[in-house]
Symmetry: C2
Subunit: 432 residues, 2 copies
């Protein structure tokens, strides 16, 4: 606070004063990195109108922290906490189960819920919102996508008047950390180990590197931005594990780098959506995103492109989103309901592609590949073959002009029969 | 809308249904670029719950549009419209007067107000919000800063839980258009004429190029982000008119470009704030912002940097913010009140500077300048003098390490006495 304060008392209504209600009684479900950050921020910023009354955690004794007010009830009995006089459950454990049960039971009991659980919201958000509306509580999940970046509040409160037709995002900080390190020359296995050591990646990294985490977040954003409810399982993710150093080297020659991108688009009245590693221009916003940063680009019919970026994960940034949701609840700020309709992922992207082959060299390979592409009416943009690789394990790249994914898949299925291939061709979208 | 719609009717509650109220009756004050965009979006998106009932404009007959429903009352009597049964006045005329009178009278009559008027909100926002709270209406101004980019909703709804200590923004699209064109080689007067022809700049461009528009927006963001109420007049803007092509050339040699930047910071418990042309790294987000784009970077104690960018002005983007505010009002979504305290701009930035001299060359100039800087304990970072300029009108540049503005001003006052100077030295902050 600046020192030239004139009349702080008269200018700073407490939440309790401003809405005439007693403080919001809060139960934290989960007291790990994010849960303890939420508690820290609430205590340090002295947020009037918000009071932590309960902490639920398995083996709660080992979680007890001496900086938390002694009035807080520490419990390992979730039913007891849900049955108590708390107003809001803050669910920070994640996953469909048992977190889904806690959230459902809390909402059924008329409580409000603030959650960072992208999986639960992606798969059951519509149903849980409907339930909350019936029982008089509120469900808020600003922390579920892009952590500390206010994409969800921005969509609900600032872009509800637009019609978002296309979106692209870097929604998984773990993949972005790995890929931006690989861009700088490191090998996948080495960076993954570093990410695990730093706590950015789980012991089993499949949820992140396989694209499953990102597709949950994409499904949530598609509902709020494009207003379509999709089954996340219909979004087929491409893992980043198939990339190797040679792809970053070829990408650089094409003035690109590689990021895990989640994208969705209205195409001829249908929706297309995918998650996977893609080539992005080195001078585009996507390429600026380094380390665990996230980024979301929304293209609106009226407002054009809007870009959000920042720290998408981590205890403090995620906790900022949770605390902001709690403040909004305490002040009676309701969410702006965004109408949505169920939709199938029925459309295809029509974009340029990067295809990297690994072959044992022999005459005629390029002729056969280009002939297979030509049969599907796919135009070649460039053929790049760098010097310095051995003929018995030779990587080279073909980039193609925008084409339907299905046509390219047919061509690659033909090409896949060639006995010179040491592995299936790697096919990446190019983001333009 | 995608074609695979399963049950649109059951999924799409109208605003009127969802809050049990009749549609919000809206009066548009001003039917220029933004006003007609608001009407277009409301009609095209068939926003249930929102109904334009009145349009107020001077000489309204020439504004009447055949695509607007015939039920709309066109009026040039503002008091009649305020006295009618409208629920919300949308004020899009701008300026302190008479717009301030209309807004005040509407709020006094218990109406809500949605406005894009940055000047009114910067100078009278606190008072008008208090009045609205007393009279039961709401005041929303998401369009007042950065047009179609949801910075204000993001701050109120998604970052209220953080403590923003520093912010930088490109808040004036006209200046950004001019400077990004000058970066590409054009001269100021030529680009200004182009901006005027395209409708980006007024016949009298002082409000934009002088930094007055940006400082109003900075004052609004300081209140919502840093929670300090400052008198915008205390923010001394530096005009972009003192720049010339040689500055862009020198900036390029320093791996920078020049943007009009609005910045504010907490320094030792006080606030510093300024608006003016600054050197920004060519690889930083600020440099990516081209044309009429805006950008805001907020640095939070807990969440770190959050970046917003997009189209900050223009009819459609601004209208998106207005329509989003109207939807929030229609759905009873209250603003999250951000407590704030009055503050003086009492602190100084301690940042590196770029100082460009224009001299008639003679021996000893650099020695005198560097001696004057040394007397104020200011360390020189670099001295750059490009070849190819005539000795009788020689531009050269000195960059200095972070120093207090007051110390640099004292040194420049001394240096300003040198008779070799053809004009006062140009002093720009370097953003790092």
């Amino acid at each position: 606070m600046p020192s030239q304060v004139k009349s702080p008392a008269s200018e700073k209504p407490s939440a309790a004063e401003s809405n005439g209600r007693p403080p919001l009684r809060i139960a934290l479900f989960g007291f790990g990195t994010v849960g303890s950050s939420v508690a820290r921020i609430l205590l340090e910023s002295n947020s009037e109108g918000l009071e932590i009354t309960h902490v639920y955690n398995r083996k709660v004794a080992r979680k007890k922290a001496d900086w938390v007010p002694s009035s807080v009830v520490w419990s390992e009995d979730w039913e007891e906490v849900v049955a108590s006089d708390v107003d809001v459950i803050v669910e920070l454990v994640g996953g469909l189960d048992p977190a889904g049960t806690w959230v459902r039971r809390a909402i059924e009991a008329g409580k409000s819920v603030v959650t960072a659980n992208k999986k639960l919201i992606a798969y059951h958000g519509v149903e849980l919102e409907r339930l909350a509306a019936q029982r008089g509580g509120h469900l808020k999940y600003g922390a579920a996508v892009a952590g500390g970046i206010p994409v969800i509040p921005g969509l609900e409160q600032g872009l509800a008047g637009d019609h978002i037709r296309r979106m692209e995002g870097i929604l998984n900080g773990t993949c972005n950390f790995i890929l931006s390190k690989m861009e700088a020359g490191a090998e996948y296995a080495v960076v993954l180990a570093e990410a695990q050591a730093k706590g950015y990646a789980e012991a089993d990294p499949t949820e992140d590197v396989g694209g499953f985490d990102a597709r949950s977040k994409l499904a949530i954003l598609m509902r709020l931005a494009m207003r379509v409810v999709v089954d996340p399982d219909e979004i087929v993710p491409q893992p980043i594990t198939s990339l190797s150093a040679v792809d970053f080297s070829y990408a650089r020659d094409l003035n690109c780098t590689i990021r895990q991108v989640s994208r969705a688009e209205e195409v001829g009245g249908e929706v297309a959506a995918t998650v996977g590693p893609m080539l992005v221009d080195r001078n585009s916003p996507m390429a600026w995103s380094r380390g665990t940063e996230n980024m979301v680009i929304l293209n609106g019919r009226y407002g054009g492109d809007v870009v959000f970026s920042g720290h998408g994960a981590g205890g403090h940034p995620t906790a900022v989103a949770v605390v902001s949701d709690l403040l909004a609840l305490a002040h009676g700020s309701r969410r702006v309901p965004i109408p949505s309709v169920p939709a199938k992922i029925g459309a295809e992207f029509e974009v340029p592609h990067y295809i990297r082959f690994l072959v044992t060299d022999r005459p005629g390979i390029v002729a056969e590949i280009t002939a297979a592409l030509a049969r599907e009416q796919i135009n070649i943009r460039a053929i790049v073959q760098k010097a310095g690789y051995p003929a018995e394990s030779l990587p080279f790249v073909v980039t193609v002009e925008p084409c339907k994914s299905s046509a390219l898949q047919r061509a690659l299925a033909e090409i896949g029969k060639m006995n010179c291939l040491l592995q299936p061709p790697l096919d990446l979208q190019i983001l333009e």
